[in-house]
């Protein structure tokens, strides 16, 4: 299922919960893990002086520094690396999103795995240098699915067996569904297809009556059946549900309620207005809030 995973890590405690997912998935599914780290961001332009992510000091980059960083990573993840895992450690100087995407282009992984924030806005070296977050940029541009573990709660608690697939019935969602089906088949998971009916006044333009909401729920369920059920029958266990509310909240709640250990969604399956983009699309909000890893499928 996963043969080559690119795990982009800050190699700090902020990435620990993502590391647990990365090493466990790589170990469980015998995948090769490319541990990728951007140790510093150039202080300006293409300068060889970088701000070190861990120490936040200015450092001259040379081969010794890069080797030292690799050793640090090897030491930091020693307990995971001793079990015969196939891995490489790669370090690159630059802006994280660009470097991660460049590495992905070179190595063509079938999954990119990212942790959450590297600290608060004031402290984080990565964030200070970025317009928008690393996570958003990668999720939007990556050619392969991107798995994000943003919170400790979303870490690995014992395997993948129950997947929530969130759909908005777009073509992009259909692509994400194919990916969810592939994971569910290969790993023998239950697949739960879920649609959140957006009943916020911004989406509907008015306050819907309960009868109208329930009618829309019935329609959405019919759409799920029409669009996905013939394929779902290939699986042993599946379900279809529609809840009403604020979509990203409902998806997080639903996944928590059914004890999902993975959420799969399409990225930017519907275009967002500029103002919405600041808050992020539904999938970005789900990534930030979910209590399990989220895979965003971009294309």
């Amino acid at each position: 299922m996963f043969t080559k995973i690119l795990f982009a890590t800050s190699a700090t405690k902020e990435s620990d919960h993502a590391a647990r997912v990365a090493f466990n998935i790589a170990g469980s599914y015998d995948a090769h893990l490319d541990i990728f780290h951007v140790p510093g961001v150039p202080s300006r332009g293409y300068s060889q002086v970088v701000v070190d992510v861990k120490t936040k000091e200015r450092v001259d980059v040379d081969d010794d520094y890069l080797e030292w960083v690799k050793d640090e990573i090897r030491t930091y993840y020693a307990k995971y690396l001793e079990n015969g895992l196939r891995y490489d450690i790669t370090v690159a100087i630059g802006f994280p999103a660009r470097e991660i995407l460049r590495q992905a282009k070179d190595t063509e992984p079938d999954l990119i795995l990212l942790g959450g924030s590297t600290g608060d806005e004031e402290e984080a070296v990565y964030k200070k240098s970025m317009a928008g977050t690393t996570l958003q940029k990668i999720a939007r541009s990556a050619k392969c699915p991107v798995l994000v573990v943003n919170r400790p709660a979303a870490s690995f608690w014992g395997g993948l067996s129950n997947i929530t697939f969130g759909t908005d019935f777009s073509k992009a969602s259909d692509k994400a569904f194919e990916f969810a089906m592939k994971v569910a088949k290969n790993l023998d998971c239950e697949l739960n297809v879920f649609h959140a009916l957006d009943i916020t006044s911004g989406a509907t333009g008015e306050m819907l009556s309960q009868d109208e909401i329930e009618q829309k729920i019935r329609e959405a369920l019919r759409m799920i059946r029409g669009r996905y059920e013939s394929r779902l029958k290939e699986l042993k266990h599946y379900s279809m549900d529609v809840w009403e509310g604020i979509p990203f909240i409902e998806i997080v709640k639903y996944a928590r309620d059914i004890h999902s250990d993975l959420i799969v969604m399409a990225h930017h399956s519907k275009k967002t207005e500029k103002a919405d983009a600041i808050l992020g699309s539904n999938v970005e909000q789900v990534i930030v809030r979910a209590g399990c890893p989220v895979i965003s499928v971009n294309r």
Binding site: P152, S155, G159
Partner: protein
């Protein structure tokens, strides 16, 4: 009638220790070394409380929990997570407590007493 506690953990030392601790304090205690055995024991003995490790060979604790609560009679059984894994408080959101190994026996007994008497 004594209250029943099921201990699910892959560490035999923890199993022995907790079994003795609970029995010494007036409970019936049953042990299981993995999730599969735990489910069998849970169905058989209908425990009043379960102490659960997270990281175990085979299925981990959260999957045991998910399977256990499918059974109507076990749906509301309180669970105490006892694990050395960091962030274990997130593993089972509905657990009544999450305790990190090594743990304080009096604290554990206090939680058990509050939950089932």
């Amino acid at each position: 009638m004594k209250k029943r506690i099921l201990i699910v953990d892959d560490d035999p030392n923890i199993l022995d220790y907790l079994e003795a601790l609970f029995k010494d304090n007036g409970y019936d205690a049953y042990t299981a070394r993995d999730a599969k055995e735990g489910l069998k024991m849970a169905m058989e003995h209908k425990p009043d409380l379960v102490t659960l490790d997270i990281e175990m060979p085979g299925d981990w604790g959260p999957r045991f929990y998910r399977q256990m609560i499918q059974e109507k009679s076990l749906k509301n059984v309180p669970v105490i997570v006892i694990s050395g894994l960091s962030g274990n408080v997130h593993a089972i959101p509905k657990a009544i407590a999450s305790i990190k190994k090594p743990f304080d026996r009096e604290k554990l007994l206090g939680i058990v007493k509050d939950a089932i008497g």
